[in-house]
Symmetry: C2
Subunit: 366 residues, 2 copies
Amino acid sequence: MAAEPPRTRARRRDPEAARTIRDVAARAGVSTATVSRVVNGNYPVAASTRAAVERAMRDLGYVANAHARALAGSTTRVVGIVVSEIVDPFFAYIARGVQAEALASGRLCLVCSTQGGEAAELRFVDLLLEQRADAVILVGGAVEDKEYFAAVGQRARQLASSGSSLVLCGRPGLEDGVPAYAVEYDNIGGAAAITDHLLSAGHTKILYLGGPTTLSTTTARLRGFHQAFAARKLEHDPRLVRTGAFGRQWGYQQTLKALDDGLDFTAIFAANDIVAAGVYAALRERGLRIPDDVSVVGYDDVPVATELQPALTTVRVPLEELGRAAVRAGIAGQEPSADPFAHQQPMTTLGTVVVVRDSVGPPATG
Amino acid sequence: MAAEPPRTRARRRDPEAARTIRDVAARAGVSTATVSRVVNGNYPVAASTRAAVERAMRDLGYVANAHARALAGSTTRVVGIVVSEIVDPFFAYIARGVQAEALASGRLCLVCSTQGGEAAELRFVDLLLEQRADAVILVGGAVEDKEYFAAVGQRARQLASSGSSLVLCGRPGLEDGVPAYAVEYDNIGGAAAITDHLLSAGHTKILYLGGPTTLSTTTARLRGFHQAFAARKLEHDPRLVRTGAFGRQWGYQQTLKALDDGLDFTAIFAANDIVAAGVYAALRERGLRIPDDVSVVGYDDVPVATELQPALTTVRVPLEELGRAAVRAGIAGQEPSADPFAHQQPMTTLGTVVVVRDSVGPPATG
DNA sequence: CTCCTCGTAGTAAACGGTTGCTATCGTGCT
DNA sequence: AGCACGATAGCAACCGTTTACTACGAGGAG
């Protein structure tokens, strides 16, 4: 009796297991190279051969292994997106744009929700680095912290060196030299515009409410807010700025608190629409009418803005387009069909516009 | 001059390129097997060796390649979820649960949004099959179509044969024998309970509004609706059922239409909270007060329910928990630590409960 | 003083594709 | 007829890890 031979290369496989390209090749009587070529259609294959291979694939229920493909090829056909909270419509709409554009480029979308921790955010980026995602998109405001920026910059470099890219979406870019794209919206401009809307209705005692103090989103919106005052050579009482968080709860409680503190204001600029929802609830509870007693504006123009009564005047941010643009920026240059003349801008800014609804009126007299 | 040697195996690599396990091994003076072992910690390695390897990894900024790992190992550490619309809070909350539970098990989450096409849904499942996702979760109502079920069943079998699994989340299971888990909520019970709530307030002329006719979600809710009538030996006028779609627009228009058609009803059962939002808008436009003139109930208990004025009475669905349970079901048995006594139920059902708010009152007299 | 047995580390064969190069065959040209 | 060439197909190296097996040195038992 012959000694047991070492496991032969073309060993017997579990007949139930997924088929490989070799199974297909064997059944079609061609080499794996040929199968690969008909799958990818990037190399001439005779029509008859192609038909035989396609037949074999169908018969076997062949499904390519994306990991083997990613390993051998150079692209993973996956983009990653990191948001802080997927149920927040602000992020959900951006994610929708990302996933739509990813799909359009034949890619899948890995979504990571950090629940708002910068440490978690970095860990997710590392995981996406392991996944060799074609692009990783960091969405939403950034904490303005030296150390954090350095950490993000380092990831950006690693991404770049593995042929991928980092895209900052809705947050300011990094320092020069760091290989990252930024796709932003005109945060300052929108804030200035809607503040001016309030100003031209006659309000000057405006309470600015919401947003974590350390977030770039907050500082940008506040900057726009102050700019609008400055443009009219008006002063703004610094006591009328209360930052802290986004969130309906927060908006509700702080509005109550502002009222209790006896703050003197005729309008409220809620840092976003969700905070505005809280503001509405608090005002309603205190029997204050909008806009008769207090005017309110929000930011983002997410669906709740039209659900609120009266409908909320707010700033529309092109969220979905922001997501799409981010993907385009991220995968530019990786496409075989990339236009060599389409030079990549390191940063693009989308416009914002104020949408006027029913929550602003003239200041209450007295 | 010597002939150019064939590319040597340990060729000079782009110094910028991502480091591989071989680079680390070389720098630490060990074999790749050893590096792999310190990374995975699943095999004894001397403390000094471990330290050297860890040092090398840090120095080089080594990041493991998830695809190579997936190819050589057996798990991909990725779960896939297919929803019809990621910005819809119903799906967003489920997705949140999925992503949280996936993270807890050390996995990433591939999110696919079909924008409501069953063909797109199947294509996404195929893509997830290519990705060899550890589990794929199909969320939301299913079209009740023979052919479609067959297609899903086939995917389920393919998934199962590659060690993965299909989980149906918020939709009925497949026929016996198809390897798929179902994680549902008590759709019928919730509908019956909230209908009974309306009934006990004195309403019997209830307009049921919304939901695609072919979706399992719709048929289940309608069944509960009718069950509640039957339980009280009451009849329901079939003309008071108008199905068609989910969506605020749809709810708005159909409410207007029902009013114009002179339908006789004192309450509206909106197929979900979003439809209810449309109902509110239409009623408001016609000067009808809630609940004085018309009572309204919804389904799902998503945030808009509390934003609406008056706050909407609705059925709470444990969305996030649904997502978590789906992941647990999907990856059960794949975990090294899997409890051998934890037998897998082919289906689990989560309870629903009606949450009473302010949108239901006694029927208007006259 | 052998022989085992641990405790560690290395070797090399997969995993399932992709792709640069080479080989083959039938034609159109000269 | 001889030859270069275009169209196809195959060979085999390679992508970066994991892991079954083998190898080796030291200490303990007999």
